[in-house]
């Protein structure tokens, strides 16, 4: 007998287990959660998005994604915990309730399923997609260099063997194209929050150029509040700022594409780093990581709700 109550959020899970859990979540909360398939991966796996909605038509929406880099397991695990938290808090927490009473949340927990399966079966440290590159024996494209935002420049590689290979052209990866098509066809997405790990940062546009975004000041203030509220939980210190200022120039990323396509509140998280494990953060860290991330996510979502545009 399947039961959502026995799911262990403090453990890492396979794709099948997570997809099964998504079905259980939908079954248990049919009036709040539904599952949408937005496309297929290169290896023909379904790309599922959980839709949290209390009704209405084409409401303003918040997009969340986790796990575009498959080896960042803490990210997908945080995604599962967070999706469950949204459901638990609706009707309890006034902020979550207010958000969902007037907005929808779309959440893609396994953004790169082929890579994720590969990390479980063959190479735990796989980052990219699994698409075959013509003329090369090296497989995969970095899906966070594949977006049509300064595509092809700094911080990405033209070498298919590189971990930051940008791909042959923008949106060549079906995993990326599916999100692009979804957000464009929706037309009312107000925030995109793309979650990665690890280096404890909350970043916003731009990454492909050093020019400040038009809303730099507002995004910076919001990021400052979010990382402060995150740190209040366990004292985890996050850096924040534009991608270019905080880390390095990186072209073709999710948040830059979103911002350049009219999504003002575009952020990317880099979840916690204990300085001991890198991408191999033990599963004991899942709940603390997800728990401390939640207030920061909520800050952004509440700000989006309170600042319509």
């Amino acid at each position: 007998q399947r039961s959502i109550s026995t799911f262990d959020f403090a453990s890492y899970h396979t794709l099948e287990e997570i997809y099964d859990w998504m079905d259980m979540l939908v079954d248990d909360h049919p009036n709040l959660v539904s599952k949408i398939q937005i496309g297929q991966s290169y290896e023909n796996r379904p790309l599922y998005v959980l839709k949290f909605s209390t009704g209405g038509s084409n409401r303003p929406a918040i997009w969340l994604d986790t796990g575009i880099h498959s080896r960042e397991w803490i990210t997908q695990a945080t995604g599962v915990w967070t999706a469950n938290k949204i459901v638990k808090e609706y009707g309890q927490d006034p902020s979550v309730t207010a958000i969902l009473d007037s907005m929808d949340i779309f959440f893609e927990i396994i953004t790169n399923p082929d890579g994720f399966v590969f990390t479980h079966s063959s190479n735990r440290l796989w980052r990219k997609t699994r698409s075959i590159n013509a003329g090369s024996s090296c497989v995969g494209v970095d899906p966070n260099r594949n977006w049509d935002a300064g595509f092809g420049g700094s911080g990405s590689s033209s070498d298919p063997c590189s971990e930051t290979y940008r791909g042959p052209y923008a949106h060549s990866e079906s995993e990326v194209k599916a999100i692009v098509d979804f957000i464009r066809s929706h037309g009312n997405v107000k925030s995109v929050i793309s979650i990665h790990s690890y280096s404890q940062m909350l970043l916003f546009p731009y990454g492909y150029k050093r020019t400040p975004a038009a809303h730099h000041q507002e995004l910076n203030e919001l990021a400052k509040k979010a990382v402060s509220d995150l740190a209040a939980m366990y004292g985890t210190k996050y850096a924040y700022g534009s991608v270019a200022d905080t880390i390095y120039l990186a072209d073709g990323t999710t948040v830059d594409w979103a911002y350049d396509n009219g999504v003002k509140y575009s952020f990317t998280f880099e979840l916690r780093d204990t300085g001991r494990y890198g991408f191999l953060l033990p599963s004991t860290q899942i709940i603390p990581t997800a728990t401390e991330t939640w207030p920061a996510l909520l800050d952004i979502m509440v700000h989006v709700l309170e600042h319509p545009y």
Binding site: S122, L125, P282, S283
Partner: protein, 94 residues
């Protein structure tokens, strides 16, 4: 299944731009098959470098020759993966 026996992850802190340039050159040596898990950003900021066992000696000699400070963040990547797998199996059983 790819194994990572004896591979290490080094936490490196470059103290100036010259050392960052040297590390970038190191990263471009394809034969070493190293991978910056956490990329170089600026002097004083840590970068994490995964080094396969066969390249460990060359990389450590390079770092020490250029007085680039580093510590071993992960002693044996495979040991950590084995532990992770064990935990997953245990949790599934429960």
């Amino acid at each position: 299944e790819q194994l990572f026996r004896g591979d290490q992850v080094l936490r490196i802190t470059a103290s100036n731009e010259e050392q960052i340039t040297l590390l970038r050159v190191l990263g471009e040596q394809a034969e070493l098959q190293i991978d910056f898990w956490r990329d170089l950003t600026g002097p004083g900021h840590p970068a994490d470098l995964w080094v396969p066992f066969p390249s460990l000696q060359a990389v450590k000699i390079f770092l020490e020759f250029h007085s680039i400070s580093y510590s071993v963040m992960i002693e044996d990547v495979q040991a950590l993966l084995d532990e992770e797998k064990k935990n997953m199996t245990r949790s599934r059983r429960i």
